[in-house]
């Protein structure tokens, strides 16, 4: 058939049209995929805010545990616990991470340097429950559940994040700074601490923020290290409460009061995590603008 209508769907012009259609269809699908990917984010945030805000008030944040028969109390003990666990973990992870990053930047192509970069990647991919098991075998078997054990587990999870971000920042710092310092006769360590580190400071800070964001919500490694607690405690050799552990306990509880409290804790954690992530990104953007 050779009617004008038929000619539209056969021949070179038709193949051209078909290719254009496929093009628009597939590109449209990728846009759809992006929208679809953002739906869970919006949904989770909406639910956390909607369900969490009912239980979130000043009393909730400042009281400690009370049984549900007495109203359910608050999460102050968990807030303090998380602060201590994460703070201690940071004290352990940040120095080691920064120093290891210096090593990697100083020996980028040696076998050991490559091994350490690889080791950092592996460490960041380890299931967090395996880290908890490791710390249990090393610390808890002898001494019982403690905040120390929990902090160590979290420190192991923070280490790769700190190392990686410090390393990337150091690589961005101009070599000329380092060469000038060494040329003036300063020893290596002085160059690093007085010249390179301040220049890379924003990287270190953002690395710390991202690492803290990562571990503030970690539950699995704390299950058999810090164990969790209903009491306010600052003792490092005893079990310690934490926000994610309390969330888990309250979510898998039949009481509606506890469920509402779980959502409120989720709101607190998500707010903290978002704040840290967005803050780190903003600092990085400000930094790159400053360097131009």
């Amino acid at each position: 058939m050779n009617t004008p209508a038929a000619r539209r769907w056969t021949g070179a012009a038709a193949r051209e049209r078909k290719r254009r259609l496929v093009n628009i269809l597939m590109l449209g699908l990728t846009g759809l995929a992006t929208l679809l990917a953002l739906v869970p984010l919006a949904w989770i945030l909406a639910e956390v805010v909607a369900r969490g805000s009912s239980a979130l008030n000043v009393e909730f944040l400042t009281q400690t545990f009370k049984p549900t028969s007495l109203g359910g109390g608050g999460i102050w003990h968990a807030i303090v616990g998380t602060a201590i666990l994460v703070g201690l973990a940071s004290l352990l992870a940040v120095p080691i991470g920064i120093l290891a990053a210096f090593y990697v930047v100083a020996h980028p192509n040696s076998a050991m340097g490559l091994a350490v970069r690889f080791g950092t990647d592996v460490l960041s991919g380890l299931p967090s429950i395996v880290v908890g098991l490791f710390i249990y075998t090393v610390l808890v078997i002898e001494r019982g559940y403690s905040a120390w054990a929990g902090s160590l587990a979290l420190a192991i999870l923070m280490l790769p994040v700190v190392t990686r971000t410090t390393e990337e920042m150091l690589k961005l710092t101009p070599q000329s700074l380092r060469e000038a310092s060494l040329g003036l006769g300063a020893p290596e360590w002085k160059t690093t601490f007085s010249v390179m580190l301040p220049a890379a400071l924003t990287g270190v800070v953002t690395g710390l923020m991202l690492a803290v964001a990562r571990v503030s919500g970690e539950t699995a490694p704390l299950l058999f290290t810090a164990l969790g607690s209903n009491n306010l405690s600052v003792a490092l050799d005893k079990p310690m409460a934490s926000l994610p552990l309390t969330l888990f306990k309250y979510a898998v509880d039949p009481s509606k009061t506890r469920n509402a409290q779980a959502w409120a804790i989720a709101l607190v954690i998500v707010a903290l995590v978002l704040f840290l992530n967005i803050g780190a990104r903003l600092i990085a953007m400000w930094r790159s603008r400053m360097m131009r």
Binding site: L32, A106, L126, L133, G217, A251
Partner: protein, 333 residues
């Protein structure tokens, strides 16, 4: 330190003392120790898990991996239900997350206006920042009732009738919400940012010349992407998928809260299941006998070794793409 005294009158001190005063050797020692600490941790985790899993390894050997019964009271420890459960949930997660993640990566790398790219990319990455336990709570109270339950009911009613579809056991009922399907779908949301971020970096690393050549020859945008850009970055994208798989294998809290915690092997996605990480989380607290504890540690050892292998393969794949184009960023995670 540059000395201003003439050489002849400088006090004689040993080279060692001078080196220490200079500070470089302690400095180099300290940073080397820190670097070693990282390597030491990776090795240490493996060693401790190996040592403490000895009772079951010696007693059962490889049969631990294929034994299908898990009966702590009767001291029968078989890891097969958990290995299969982990594989099933991860597979479901990959099947859902891969096309979506790749689609997002293509959109962000090729089509998106540059001003939006950073913002949208950041928002997708925020999905990875939400803690697992929050995903779990959302799963129990929101996602399962609102999405998984209707979806599962639909699949069960349409395709799950054993007499009409005897060779399709994956959608057979009964279905109660907590299931492999629920865990797989939530995992898909959690690993999507990993796949999309790495794929996006890989696609951005493909040289412009490749695209321009294809377009100059008359390809449409899509044909360029599908026939030129994607094949070029294929190994890197594969690396991203493997990293996503690695993350899915180790997820604990979200899976534990929605999978049903039943150590039975079932061909249906709609029945409850159990994963390796979940059984450790649930049963570790009470593993009374040495064999029980050692069996759980051996499961942890399997997780460790698997994630190690996956990481190695994935990093090699991703590095291979960035090496072809050294001035583009690779190796992100």
């Amino acid at each position: 330190m540059i000395s201003t005294q003439p050489r002849a009158t400088r006090p004689a001190s040993s080279p060692v003392v001078r080196a220490l005063q200079h500070g470089d050797i302690p400095y180099r020692g300290v940073i080397a120790l820190s670097a070693l600490a990282i390597l030491g941790l990776v090795v240490g985790v493996g060693v401790m898990l190996w040592i403490y899993s000895e009772p079951t390894r010696v007693a059962a050997g490889w049969s631990f991996v294929v034994e299908t019964e898990w009966n702590p009271v009767g001291e029968v420890f078989g890891a097969a239900p958990f290995i299969l459960g982990t594989l099933n949930t991860s597979l479901v997660a990959l099947i859902v997350a891969f096309p979506l993640g790749l689609g997002v990566a293509i959109f962000l790398a090729e089509l998106c206006p540059i001003r939006l790219r950073a913002l949208l990319g950041f928002m997708v990455e925020l999905l990875a920042a939400i803690p697992s336990v929050v995903y779990g709570a959302w799963g129990i109270f929101v996602f399962i009732p609102a999405f998984v339950q209707p979806l599962g009911d639909f699949l069960m009613n349409k395709f799950g009738n054993p007499s009409r579809f005897p060779f399709l056991p994956i959608f057979q009922g009964p279905f109660f919400g907590a299931s492999t399907l629920a865990a797989g779908l939530i995992l898909a949301v959690m690993i999507l940012p990993t796949i999309s971020a790495i794929s996006r970096d890989v696609l951005l690393a493909v040289p412009r010349a490749q695209r321009e050549a294809a377009l100059a020859l008359g390809s449409t945008r899509w044909e360029t992407i599908w026939q030129v850009v994607l094949p070029y970055g294929l190994s890197g994208i594969l690396g991203g998928i493997i990293l996503g798989l690695g993350r899915a294998l180790g997820e604990t809290m979200a899976v534990t809260m929605v999978i049903g915690n039943v150590s039975q092997i079932s061909a249906s996605l709609l029945s409850p299941g159990y994963s390796m990480a979940s059984v450790i989380a649930n049963e570790w607290g009470e593993s009374r006998t040495p064999m029980y504890a050692s069996a759980l540690i051996e499961i942890g050892l399997l997780l460790f070794v698997t994630s190690l292998l996956l990481n190695i393969v994935a990093r090699l794949l991703v590095w291979s793409v960035s090496r072809r184009n050294p001035d583009a960023g690779g190796g992100r995670a």
